[in-house]
Symmetry: C2
Subunit: 298 residues, 2 copies
């Protein structure tokens, strides 16, 4: 989830950097993200009174559809308003939801219509046609890695699944794999914890404002949970972008993972030949080929 860096020039360089390739990508290589696929989370302002807005893109219907459907219902019910960031574990995750969620007597009731999602939904049937294979992006965690509709995924002979890269948003759960509703969410703020793939549902990614989560003070309790209520950051509101007034709706676009520009960008991420680099890596982890997302400014 790299936000495009400003490039020094859009002239074709002999060995352009990933940022230069992205900056030179043609208009038609960019895909607008639908407002109906974005969640807007407003945290309480920071100590200096500055607003803190986080924008999350929800995954498309190919993946985690049950949880995403629950999340849409929770947002429509304003369910997260007044909940909080409850956990910040360094090099791992930031987690939010109901601070009393583990206490049956005090837990905030979920709105009607929240479904229990079975374990099988961590996997989806592979759709070979929709997948862009990234030859560079091999790794330890699956035989194949690539992009599907702008999302990093892994697959084997039978199934495909989204992967836990930095900024991905997932569903907290208890021991039983069908216990996650979507009310408790987390995002990755460290090295990709790929052992969570296929064990926890991924439902989206932070596309703007992740610094408001990743720079929060680390929790001092076990697993990075905050020990005192006053250490938590209050969530003022979470809304589906379509429920905001049109002028307030965020507008973002991503570089089409099937475009020629993306292929060149991925190759340059795996083989940096721009001025600073002397030895190209010869490959790249899928999480080191983040889908480039930028604000729509025109």
């Amino acid at each position: 989830m790299a936000i495009a860096q400003p490039a020094a020039s859009t002239d074709p360089a002999p060995n352009p950097s990933p940022g230069e390739i992205v900056a030179a990508a043609p208009r038609e290589a960019w895909v607008a993200i639908a407002a109906s696929d974005m969640l807007v989370m407003d945290l309480a302002p920071d100590a200096a009174g500055k607003p803190r807005r986080v924008v999350i893109q929800l995954m498309p219907a190919q993946f985690s559809a049950g949880w995403v459907s629950n999340i849409r219902k929770l947002a429509a019910a304003n369910w997260w308003d007044g909940t909080a960031i409850v956990r910040v574990q360094d090099n791992y995750v930031v987690q939010w939801g109901d601070p009393d969620g583990e206490d049956e007597a005090k837990a905030k009731p979920l709105p009607d219509g929240i479904a229990q999602i079975p374990e099988s939904d961590y996997l989806t049937v592979r759709d070979r046609e929709a997948t862009t294979w990234l030859p560079a992006a091999n790794g330890s965690y699956a035989p194949h890695h690539g992009m599907m509709a702008g999302w990093p995924i892994a697959w084997n002979a039978d199934h495909a699944w989204p992967v836990h890269c930095y900024g991905m948003v997932g569903v907290g759960r208890n021991l039983s794999p069908d216990t996650g509703s979507g009310a408790e969410l987390y995002t990755v703020i460290g090295h990709a914890p790929r052992h969570l793939d296929r064990n926890i549902a991924l439902v989206g990614r932070v596309i703007d404002g992740i610094e408001h989560l990743s720079s929060l003070p680390r929790g001092t309790g076990p697993l990075g949970f905050y020990e005192a209520a006053e250490d938590r950051t209050v969530i003022r509101a979470v809304r589906l972008a379509t429920d905001l007034p049109p002028a307030e709706q965020p507008r973002f676009e991503y570089l089409d993972s099937k475009s020629e520009s993306f292929a060149r960008y991925a190759d340059a991420r795996a083989n940096r030949r721009d001025a600073f680099f002397n030895i190209p890596a010869g490959g790249a982890d899928i999480c080191n080929i983040p889908v480039t997302i930028r604000k729509i400014t025109q």
Copy 2:
């Protein structure tokens, strides 16, 4: 660089978690880190007046010896005192040194004896005997990954090199690969930027207090540099631990990467079978098998 998590029990469980394996490791599997290999960096206290101490373990003589030697001289000369954290780029690095380092007229002079280190020193001749191969830790960036004397490394037929995992500390430089002295340092605070391997010197890792760096506000200038001097965090002092009074010297130990406990820990990181997990990954990125480091308490 995982600080050991408290484990629920040290009884052998049928499918122990990585933390349980570490907690059950015998006394002799732990290796004390020499005080002469630790740098202590004290930042200015935080807004609440709390001290912020970061401890860095320097790499052993097998790797990056020229830069590490420079760093020892810089610390002995109190060179970093009054310098600052100048850059915090989300999902990438925190960087510190002389804010005026790029301005020849204003740059702080380096102490005598700082050597220029050649590009060839990014690589070392492979020492097969000293290496613990981790079969689980394959990846995109090198044919082999493993541990040497407690450090994550990669190697090919000719050379070995340390890898850019979370918390590793490296030497900032300009375009020419021999321009890094060790005065400007950075640590990784995001997904391992492995494309930097063999292109920048790694000299150590943060073993305590990384949260004082990783939770700093992100810089708003290009590449995450702070735009205003007052946004920077001042470095009060950096000392080699042996230059501190004995009672103030940090004491840490790491789990011997050649121990049976480490082998079991690495296997459990690659194949989580403890209660929460349903599908073991079947492998692990080298940076997802962090060397376990803990405070010596007795």
